[in-house]
């Protein structure tokens, strides 16, 4: 069995199981911790609208904070956008998704994918440097913060290398790339990559809590 066979065969299968089970376990475990019901009389509001409103409104900072977090706000958008394009619209990726999901969608030209992958990699490295040097971020950071960056960075870098056939045999590079994706999937539920799942419930509950009091979250 080659590295690629293992990474895209049993390795990927196990990684997906751990990913799915871990995500559900952590999400359900947190949500099911009991919360006391708020018995105060709310101001007139629509709880669902307030919750969904916060899911959207927290995608941009409130006016008073815009200038102070401009770098993180902009890089956050560029990073996520470039990552999603690279992952979801690269033809070989779509073939893989089709094999799992049973359906596909149009892909983007390889040149565009290469650019978005390089942009995503560059932004992630910039965010890594910021984490290591910004006084607050450096001070508050723990192993999870760095591990989570590296387990995403390595699939990006190896993906670019495999695509450009740079630095080794294509099959080997592809094997390392898929293996690094396996590692990322396994780490996902244990570290802060989990924010991709938690964003919705966290923002929603903030929206409903503030909404009760007549405050836009």
């Amino acid at each position: 069995m080659t590295l690629l066979d293992f990474a895209s065969g049993p390795g990927l299968q196990w990684a997906l199981w751990i990913f799915m089970f871990g995500v559900v376990w952590r999400l359900v475990g947190a949500l099911f911790l009991l919360s006391r019901k708020d018995l105060t009389k709310p101001r007139e509001h629509n709880s669902v609208a307030a919750g969904l409103g916060a899911v959207i409104s927290r995608s941009a900072p409130a006016h008073a904070f815009e200038k102070r977090i401009l770098f993180q706000h902009v890089t956050g958008y560029v990073w996520h956008f470039a990552l999603f394009i690279s992952v979801l619209f690269f033809a070989p990726h779509i073939l893989f998704f089709e094999s799992v999901l049973g359906f596909s969608w149009p892909h983007l030209p390889n040149t565009i994918i290469l650019v978005t992958a390089i942009v995503a990699t560059a932004v992630l490295i910039a965010l890594l440097i910021r984490r290591a040097t910004h006084p607050v971020q450096r001070f508050i950071s723990n192993a999870d913060d760095y591990i989570s960056i590296f387990v995403v960075l390595i699939p990006l870098v190896t993906g670019i290398l495999a695509f450009t056939h740079f630095g080794g045999r294509y099959e080997t590079l592809l094997g390392i790339h898929v293996l690094s994706v396996d590692v990322m999937l396994i780490w996902f539920p244990f570290g802060k990559l989990m924010h991709a799942i938690m964003t919705m419930p966290a923002r929603y509950q903030a929206g409903t809590a503030f909404g009760r009091r007549g405050v836009k979250a």
Binding site: A64, I140, H195, P201
Partner: protein, 444 residues
Amino acid sequence: MNTEAMSLQDFRALLQKLSAGAPGQDMTDEERVRRAKKGFMQKLNGHRAVDLDSCLQCGMCAEACHFYEATQNEKYAPVYKFRPLRRFYRREMSPLRWFYRPFTRDITVADLKEWQHLIYDACTGCGRCDMICPMGIKISASIRVMRHGLAAAGYVPDEMRVIRNEQRDQNKLFGVGVEQLKALVDKLGAQGVNIPLDREQADVLLFTTAVEVLLFPDTFAATARILNKAGADWTIRSDAFEAANVGIITGDDPTMKLAIRRIVDKAKACSVKTVLIPESGHAYQTIRWEGATEMGGPLPFETLSMPEFIAGEIQAGRLNLNAQSNGASVTYHDPCRLSRKGGVMQQPRDVLAALGLDVRETPANRRENYCCGGGCGEYVLENAADLRQKAFEIKRREFEDTGADAVVTSCANCRINLMIGAENSDWQTPVTSLVETVAASLAD
């Protein structure tokens, strides 16, 4: 009114002496840690678990914190302030605790000592960080859980412990009890301000605070005049008049519930329709937004803050005001527990506009407003005086940016802190109360 208020200097001297009366605390280190953990566990619910599991450690919350902004000290980043709680959650309560435990350090008594400063001196629970978090994490709610754990472990700062014990054991604050309130009522009565004390039944039950009785009796008088002018059927009870709640401030739940119960029981006994909270942000938050939950069921009355009440009376045509036409300008300082934590933001502005004042907004206002720097009882802490002053300088810059003639607010705690900050830095702009501003313009 001439009600011989205690001077600000005398009140500051009183605060400086508070800690001298703090009783000793006998607790082993192990007991403190055990109690802190129990306190965390009691309050760590599903909402907080989602919050703690969602944190990206992006550090943006630091950019919303007045103490971080004023000092640039990374320790004051709000995300760091709830770190022991996050560690506790990961080790003891998280669904993945079996995984986290070997990599997550346990809480020690040294942690609790360090976080006493971060949680009491360096956080006013204002919740401005709640408004910036891209994940929507209610950081201030986790800070409250931290206070709860620290209080259980005996880490309430001395000054707060003294007033907490005074409220719990004597139903007094700063030495103000039944006699002091009655003396003030008599004095105001002699000056023609009718205060219907101790009526058995009324529509409106007014509360006040020891701080108002001591330091701002004119605000109390102004409240009475507004109620009388509006023709309200009201009373205030000498056996339960205190709206302040040192329990919620310190994180001491039994005292918080006791103080809430005193108010709720009296309101029920008097069959009132409305409980009127004086100019105190945390008192409003406690009764309006915690009372029913703490008492285990809906309350049979509505709870109104002074801005809500006055705005409602003006709108209903029961309160006529002489609108000023001298072009005077004011800026309104939003008390955090009325604004982003209470939803009372438009009403005070409507009231000031009804007075014909030129209302000028600070750059950050309403739900994004900066804290006065001394909220949540922080203004009584001597150790935090330097931090408070640095945070006040942010407020001062914000106020000066408006060019307004005066600062108006609707929380005695904010007012005291702003007045002390102004006094320390020889800043001359007056800081006054919304209620007094309204009472000065009551039409005949």
